[in-house]
Subunit: 429 residues, 2 copies
């Protein structure tokens, strides 16, 4: 990264720790204020954010140009991720407006009841507090993540990839301007002051100021965060998703679903990576399914039974079953019915999204009960694993952990709760 | 700890890691089976556990005698915690029966809806999986924790304090016998094979096999677990709870509540540690309140204003405001109304349980909205912070974290969920 791309010169260890702490402190102070802001105030701030992004489009694009120049060595895919243009800036503003239109989750009474001693107990939704989000060099995530956090009354500390530092900085400046104009604290969106790994290390120590850390991106980043963090982590790990075509599947439906699950978009975490096919139908179903995939440009890797059915299939090795390709490659395995499919998925899957195609309700019920994943789908495409497709509005990712939130993480999943107990002088016997 | 008290000789590092891993693997295999067991099967196993504890009472008491002999150097309070007798064994069996009678949380449809494309989405309660519980030398927790985990379909890995190793081992043997007799896997209750810190260190690395770790007990243990663990932690930290007596409080109610909140039981996490009193009423309310406390045997520490009202009050220093005494000691401070009370609590409290006594609904509403704690109480005693008192049945503790579970952690809080998506061939456009 060029020196020009750094928000400020790199300080020594103690100064770094102090500056990261100051950022987190500002966020925590803002979170206290945000938790008391009304839904209408937060909605107004979100609308102002969208407007500020539109107004500052030229500034944001100029900052992005700087990033693109510095990023000349990146792969085309990474450059495409980093690149902004007028329509992408407009999409970002629209995304923030959509979050502004989401139902406000705060204050909702999740449950309430009376005790025999007359105490009234209510469980009420409250913000989590301060959320740190560590993400790839995707400038739009800066706006998306900040907006979703604000909808749920949380302050956000953002740490995007180094390559996007100027773009993210310009977007952040717009968001802060909007917050200020609506009277909410600018500390509601903060970013890590220095763009290096040591700053993230300091951040992950601040469990007295930060309530949750959400890492997005590569598996190694996420594992590093999970290993280092003293703060609770909402993991967005890899999606090694499977589609299992059962012996009782309708062939036309299976072809349509497999092709979509693998090839609609290969780079998303809900894309199918391994196809499992019931031995009962492998000889008749696999040839057309494999042909669809090959014609769509998919590389085929398979076990020996699959290979025997199509000369384009290369032999899969053991690591293929554990690989999230995020690419036009599929691993294919013939299995002995739903039981072997479930066993294979529970061994090799990443607990993200798993699908079965079958007309046999009993097999489907078994699969849905026994597969250990956040999302289990019957007769549809794994590519539906998405907060928007679930009707939850925007999402910050898909959680593969079991604690707090599993599956799509939207505004509601970015909340906690508290118990409000109302009495009339009761003491405990 | 004597050599006799160890379950087995202390192995070297690699062997230790392997033996801890084998325990966790057995628990994970059992968890898969448990998640498919019916509510009736788990209820039957819980009832069999209670019966086994009763049948094995003599064995359990003999094991406890061994622990008590080895524990001769402990303080009376710790010895009392460790000691079992016939009535405590019976109470343990009864506790397990109560868990057997709790509503089963699994399979519950938490929400369901249809999408415009015809997909049906349901969020359904499932077990967390494998829960590791690290606790004090309280033998009864072995049965309580195992039972609550089983009610929610989870396997438990238990690690009680060293001093209780024989008692816990005997109780565990009874529980396993009961599981076996009802056809559920014995791996549903496991314990760490070796009683030393290194074994806990190995356990905390196993994020591929263990889903949650719940540390109970001292602050230093919990902080060590939070710092070291790669597994998500449900923290049960200290309860530095406050009772604030507002200027609009009824004096008789305030006296009754403060005395109960502090002195009913001083060793529980919901006991009030600091009393805050509104300056408007300090001169008239504090003398009788302090007198009640002193007569009940409570040591009084306070700020200079409090001291001026009662000669028995010694001057509190800065650490008093941050201390969970768990003893008959109270810190007392005069504050400038509800705003200063909230600020003091949010600065010094541990986000556990906080109470306000007032007849002013506006002050109460402000306190309940702005105090950042799992439980906020109006006109009642902080000692009600308890899963049983909340009507949730047994609890494993009070969570002071904001993620996943806040406040009492009962069977429902020991669950996760999964999304079941049912389609008819839909693919994503």
């Amino acid at each position: 990264m060029s020196a020009a791309a750094q928000p400020q010169a790199k300080p020594d260890g103690a100064a770094l720790a102090a500056s990261v702490r100051a950022v987190a402190r500002a966020a925590k102070d803002a979170a206290a204020a945000l938790s008391l802001a009304s839904a209408a105030e937060r909605t107004a701030a979100l609308k102002a954010m969208a407007a500020a992004i539109r107004e500052d489009a030229a500034l944001i694009l100029a900052a992005n140009d700087k990033d693109m120049v510095a990023a000349s060595g990146l792969t085309p895919a990474l450059k495409d991720r980093l690149k902004l243009d007028a329509s992408r800036v407009e999409a970002m503003a629209k995304g923030v407006e959509e979050v502004a239109a989401l139902p406000d989750p705060l204050g909702q009474v999740m449950a309430e009841w009376d005790r025999p001693n007359g105490l009234h107990i209510a469980r009420v939704r409250v913000p989590l507090g301060v959320i740190a989000i560590i993400y790839e060099s995707r400038p739009n995530v800066t706006a998306d993540a900040a907006a979703l956090c604000l909808r749920a009354g949380n302050a956000a500390i953002l740490r995007g990839g180094s390559e996007s530092v100027n773009s993210s900085g310009a977007i952040l400046a717009s968001l802060k301007r909007a917050l200020k104009s609506t009277g909410l604290p600018e500390g509601a969106v903060m970013r890590v002051p220095v763009q290096d790994r040591a700053a993230v290390g300091e951040l992950l120590k601040l469990d007295d100021l930060i309530d949750v850390v959400i890492p997005r991106g590569g598996k190694s980043l996420i594992e590093r965060v999970a290993a280092e963090s003293r703060i609770p982590v909402l993991k967005h790990l890899d999606g090694n998703c499977h589609t299992y075509v059962d012996g009782a599947a309708d062939l036309a439906m299976a072809r349509r679903i497999v092709l979509n699950a693998k090839m609609r978009r290969t780079g998303i975490c809900g894309a199918t990576e391994t196809l499992l096919v019931d031995r009962r139908v492998a000889k008749t179903y696999l040839p057309p399914i494999l042909d669809d995939l090959a014609k769509a440009g998919c590389e085929l890797r398979g076990d020996s039974e699959t290979r025997a059915l199509d000369h384009r299939v290369t032999l899969a090795n053991d690591t293929d079953w554990d690989t999230e390709y995020l690419d036009a490659i599929i691993a294919v395995k013939v299995v002995d019915g739903v039981d072997e499919a479930i066993a294979h998925i529970n061994r090799h899957g990443s607990h993200h999204t798993e699908a079965i195609v079958t007309a046999d309700e009993k097999a489907a019920a078994k699969f849905m009960a026994e597969v250990d994943a956040g999302i289990v789908i019957h007769n549809s495409s794994t590519q539906f694993a998405d907060g928007g497709e679930f009707g939850m509005g925007a999402e910050i990712g898909i959680s593969t952990g079991k604690l707090h939130a599993r599956g799509p993480v939207g505004a509601e999943q970015l909340t906690s709760y508290k118990y409000l107990v109302r009495g009339s002088g009761q003491v405990r016997p």
